[in-house]
Amino acid sequence: MNKPRQEGPDHDQDEREWQAQERALREARDGLPVTPDDARLARYRNIAEALRQPPQGALPADFASQVARIALQGSVAGRTAARGDATRFEQVLVRILSAAFVLSALVALGIYGGRLLTMLQSSAGDDGLQWLLVLAACAGLTWSFEWMRRRADHGQDGPMRAI
């Protein structure tokens, strides 16, 4: 198996390095004795030996039977479906409430907007009012970005969950 790099002055050196890595892997796999006179090979052999050790920890002894039980009962699928239904219901509810809130706010703004603006102008002055509007715009932008980010994240979830 050749190292896939084809160009550059280091190609031969990389090829030798790759061959040493592969030889160390083969020798570790076959349990051959370490070559003592090649320091690079010996180091790769150490690495190959370490990599052939399984990671610490393991699945529980009854993992297979547990998973099989869950899969066969279909309880997880059932729970997920139920959770999905509940989530969908909540989402509809939140949308209705949000729409009612926005509508109320618009109506209130139409009725009391002029009076509110006059009050703010008299208490905060023209400059103060401008700063308040800037602050409101910043808050609006922050909220919009967060909303868009959440939407993007939600969109990414879809295809990955397909399996």
């Binding site: 050790q53 920890g57 699945l59 297979a64």
Partner: protein
């Protein structure tokens, strides 16, 4: 070292897509076909046997990707439940081992993406040295003094990015050929070789007396 193709390619959520790729290697064996048929027919004990046969591979992949044993256990369960749900899509043109490994890799990769953990180190350069990446919890000098080479190496392997750790484990521990790893991860074979080469060289450099700890 310049790397030609380090960009990580997105993995198909459904193993079927990759199973139809031209770089396929071996199809399913008769034993695998019989096992899949038994699971699909709902034969008692068949799915449990399938899980038992492949849980080691799934554990290696997922644990190497996410590192946290608790998360890894949950993700392994999720992976096998997906296998159970999608087994009817398996077309026998890849080894069952590869198909299941692909599901496990996909589940673990998605978990890392959700947690915004980078899968591989940024392209170009060797990045942080492994000694730096291992953090404060590991004392290189003590390890050298104790001649605890294996502990040092395992800490260094743990300090590699998730993708590199997983590729090394598949190739060295599970003896999965590069073509099969390509199918599992959705990465080009050249990219996988590049990652293997660079990671092992990085580990070797760490053992050099003038840089890390002498072997």
């Amino acid at each position: 070292m310049a790397l030609a193709t380090l960009a990580t390619v997105g993995v198909s959520p459904c193993p079927m897509d990759a199973a139809e790729s031209p770089s396929q290697t071996h199809g399913a064996s008769q034993e695998e076909r019989a096992l899949v048929a038994a699971v699909l027919a709902g034969t008692p004990g068949a799915f449990e046997r399938l899980v038992r046969d492949y849980q080691g591979l799934c554990w290696h992949i997922v644990l190497r990707m996410v590192r946290h044993p608790e998360d890894a256990r949950e993700l392994c369960q999720e992976a096998f439940l997906r296998v159970h749900r999608c087994l009817h899509q398996y077309r026998f043109d890849a080894a069952l081992k590869s198909w299941i490994a692909q599901v496990a890799y996909s589940v673990a990769k998605r978990h890392l993406e959700r947690k915004r953990i980078p899968l591989a180190e940024a392209a170009g350069g060797d990045g942080l040295s492994l000694a730096e990446s291992m953090g404060d919890g590991f004392d290189l000098e003590t390890a050298a003094a104790d001649a605890d080479l294996h502990r040092l190496l395992h800490a260094a392997i743990d300090a590699l990015p998730p993708l590199q750790r997983t590729l090394l484990t598949l190739y060295h521990l599970d003896d999965v050929p590069i073509a099969e790893i390509s199918r599992i991860t959705g990465l080009a074979e050249g990219t996988i070789k590049s990652h293997l080469f660079r990671s092992r060289k990085q580990l070797r450099r760490m053992l050099e007396p003038d840089i890390g700890v002498a072997a």
